[in-house]
Amino acid sequence: MARFIGRRLLLSLVTLWLLATIVFIIANVLPNDVGRTILGPFAPQESVDALNEKLGTNRPILVRYVDQIRGVFTFDYGDSFVNGRPVLPQLADAIGRSAKLAGLALIITIPVAIMAGLYAARRRDRPVDRAIVLLGVTSSSIPEFVTGTILVVVVGVQLKLLPVLATPPRNADILTQFRFLLLPALSMAIVYFGYIARMTRAGTIEVLQADYTRTAAMKGLTTAQTMRRHVLRNALIPTVAVIAVQIGYLFGGIIAVEKIFNYNGMGQTMLSAAQRKDIPMLTAGVIIIGVVYMVATLIADLTIAWMNPRIRLDAER
């Protein structure tokens, strides 16, 4: 297992380096003059030069590249173009708030979606299965901000059941916070539901047809025992993988959701950085979410290896 983890970690580092390189190319190579990009086409050349001098963007490209890559691995993501202070501490609180929102969305959606997927798989091709599949296709294809809008209009404005802004009053207790976060979390959970439910369904159907499931049933295990000991373990492998992969997308959707519900998290920070052309802030955001994605897939791979020794042994070879 140690060898498996070691190999997997090494690959993650390579991916992180490539990711940082791609982001560097977007932020530093695509615009040939960062100062000009920020100040616009009508600014005098002297101002552009002065700004480039101040931001350090007039240094040779290779120097900047080495600087950024070193920064990625030493948790130094540079200084904000707007206020000149390091970006990471400024992002920390916002990341925490976004993680709370995303976490709530996951807690709502994962159990419901897995239950729905299992239920559908065991009633394959019956009307209830078709209905769950259709619901999955529908829910995962609608953008979060659209779901959010519909939820705000129906639940918030017409029925007046829940607050339509996500930020709770200061020092609110956990229940109040939950009430405020419920609508935005739901709009993300709905998109997520479709993917997880469909993956669980597909995985379960495959395992239910496997020989070892038939053997388990024939040697006299009850359905509950078969499901618990033989089916779930294998059926949920693709589900675990898809949950991890979707975490990256979850953070993409969070930007739109935070805008609709005016929630002061990572997404709003990124949007205001975009308006002010604060490139270090944006690149830091991309890299941090990339890292979150990689950690999530790493955990997923380890979970999968733990669930199925065959995969673990294959990877060690």
Binding site: L16, L18, I26, T138, V146, T149, K259, Q275
Partner: protein
């Protein structure tokens, strides 16, 4: 893209081997028949055709001029305006009807860029394996770790937003996902006898890829195309909502939602809800088509 729904033009114009072509046409007709028996597919197609028609006919069929007719601001639905008016007094129904114009051009183009580039990459990776595959796989892995919306936001800030940039950015971000799908399809094909036979005949790599393997991975590619089209609408709408996609004065749905959503709290929900529902109907329609294609082509 040669959809199975339409018989290939080649089959009609130049029937070199009559037996084989008629067989292929027959197979396509069968696929089409199976598809047309699925209500999900028909509903999806009808919704899409509806939006395409309103986008093309535009002002000729809208009750009001969607851009240049201003009455009272935020009039509620009914009262001469079926779906009410927006903050400038423009008819919401008319604007929703023409709101698909930009997204239905930008999103398909982005999907095409992604699928063409991804298919090429996937074919090369799956067929040649070895060092090329290893290096490209790492790169694909890194691209998959990128949060699509956020990278698009960064790129559009750096390059400035224009429809062309949106098409390229979304297309490039879709490329690795398509490449991975096509690669795994190629991996299972390349072990089959017909590929070995072609190799023994001394055919060149590019020939085998384009003439032998590609036609056999066309099914997954077509499915990927429709799936990507759905995601492209999803992504472009979100970018427009975030203010870096399609720009004013377009009546684009995502853009309209971003211009009007702050008024929801004070009870003015109609200029936001109807474009939002329009987006929902479009993406669901595309995904219903994609899902039907997927299950029919996999059978």
């Amino acid at each position: 893209m040669d959809l199975p729904a339409t018989p290939s033009p080649l089959a009609r114009v130049a029937p070199t081997t009559p037996g084989a072509t008629s067989e292929r046409t027959q197979a396509r007709r069968e696929t089409l028949k199976v598809l047309l028996r699925r209500p999900a597919f028909i509903i999806g197609c009808l919704v899409m055709i509806g939006w395409i028609i309103t986008a093309i006919l535009g002002q000729r069929i809208t009750p009001y001029d969607p851009f240049n007719s201003f009455s009272g601001g935020h009039l509620p639905p009914g009262s001469g305006h079926l779906l009410g008016t927006d903050r400038l007094g423009r008819d919401v129904l008319s604007r929703v009807m023409v709101g698909s114009r930009d997204v239905l051009v930008v999103a398909p183009l982005a999907a095409i860029v992604g699928v063409v580039a991804g298919t090429l990459l996937g074919l090369v990776m799956g067929f040649y394996r070895g060092l090329i595959d290893d290096v490209l796989s790492r790169l694909v892995e890194a691209f998959l770790a990128l949060p699509v919306i956020l990278v698009a936001l960064l790129t559009l800030v750096v390059l400035g937003s224009s429809p062309l940039v949106v098409v390229c950015v979304v297309g490039i971000l879709f490329t690795p996902i398509v490449a991975r799908t096509v690669r795994s399809a190629v991996l299972s094909e390349r072990q089959l006898d017909y590929v070995t036979a072609a190799k023994l005949r001394g055919e060149s790599g590019p020939f085998i890829l384009t003439r032998e393997i590609f036609p056999n991975v066309l099914g997954p590619t077509v499915v990927e195309m429709t799936v990507r089209f759905g995601y492209a609408i999803f992504t472009v709408a979100t970018l427009s909502f975030l203010g870096v996609g399609i720009q004013p004065p377009s009546a684009d749905w995502g853009l309209t939602v971003s211009e009007e959503y702050t008024n929801m709290i004070s009870g003015v929900w109609w200029p936001t809800l109807f474009p939002a529902l329009a987006i929902a109907s479009t993406v669901v329609a595309v995904n219903l088509i994609a899902d039907s294609l997927q299950s029919v082509l996999n059978e």
